[in-house]
């Protein structure tokens, strides 16, 4: 979990795999209801996004669901 510019980055465990996921810029995350501290290590989240074509663990998120709330990231 790295709440930073230009994009908030999270590592998300999915079975044996760990995704390296780019969310949105902090300003947008904050204004859409995901301020720093709302994403914490250990929390279960659902992410919809586009995997990188060559970097097998990297993914750009379109939206994320945290605590039952879905936030659009584009």
């Amino acid at each position: 979990m790295d709440y930073r510019n230009p994009h908030v980055m999270i590592d998300l465990k999915d079975g044996a795999k760990t995704w390296n996921i780019a969310l949105a810029p902090p300003f947008r995350m904050q204004s859409r209801g995901l301020p720093d501290g709302s994403l914490t290590t250990g929390k279960a989240v659902t992410v919809v996004g586009y995997p990188h074509k060559t970097e097998v663990n990297e993914l750009r998120a379109e939206r994320i669901t945290v605590d039952g709330k879905t936030v659009e990231l584009r």
């Binding site: 510019n5 810029p25 902090p26």
Partner: protein, 164 residues
């Protein structure tokens, strides 16, 4: 993306508390990005007007008077863009130093600065004597063509850093 490896100086910059402040401020980073854009907008807008005149467009406008207006605006834009650019650079220094678009952009900036130095050394001293109704000296036209091509390419490379 944090590069796990890279030159020690780039990693040191990236891990500095200043770089951390740049990354973690919610408004600071977009403010610096915006400043960078305002800077190169002033640089490019002003310099393209002068380049166009030196290439032979705008016949009748005095190159000397145009230079007196356009060059200070371009110079301020260059300083603002470069200063903000350094601040953006430190946030991901190790990734930037191996980004081909970034490296090409820096090389082009050096070409642009050399072109400015040559223009001011060889051509500016006589600009007052250039007739306003005929094309400027060949050297000035070459410098203007190089300038327009280089600064446009710098902006294109800058934008491509995020994509390559």
């Amino acid at each position: 993306m944090h590069a796990a490896e890279g030159p020690a100086w780039a990693l040191a910059l990236e891990h500095s508390s200043f770089a951390d402040a740049m990354r973690s401020g919610v408004l600071l980073y977009p403010a610096v990005e915006t400043t960078h854009i305002l800077g190169f907008a002033c640089l490019l807008g002003a310099i393209l007007v002068l380049d166009a005149r030196l290439l032979g467009l705008g016949r009748g406008l005095s190159p000397a008077l145009l230079a007196r207006l356009a060059i200070p605006i371009a110079a301020v834009g260059l300083v603002v863009a470069a200063s903000a650019g350094v601040l953006l650079f430190v946030t991901e220094a190790a990734a930037y130093v191996r980004n081909p678009a970034f490296l090409l952009k820096q090389s082009l900036i050096l070409v642009g600065l050399a072109n400015i130095a040559i223009f001011h050394r060889l051509l500016m001293p006589t600009i007052d004597t250039w007739p306003i109704d005929r094309p400027p000296p060949r050297g000035a036209r070459v410098a203007a063509g190089v300038s327009a091509a280089v600064w446009l390419s710098v902006v294109i490379c800058g934008r491509l850093i995020a994509y390559v």
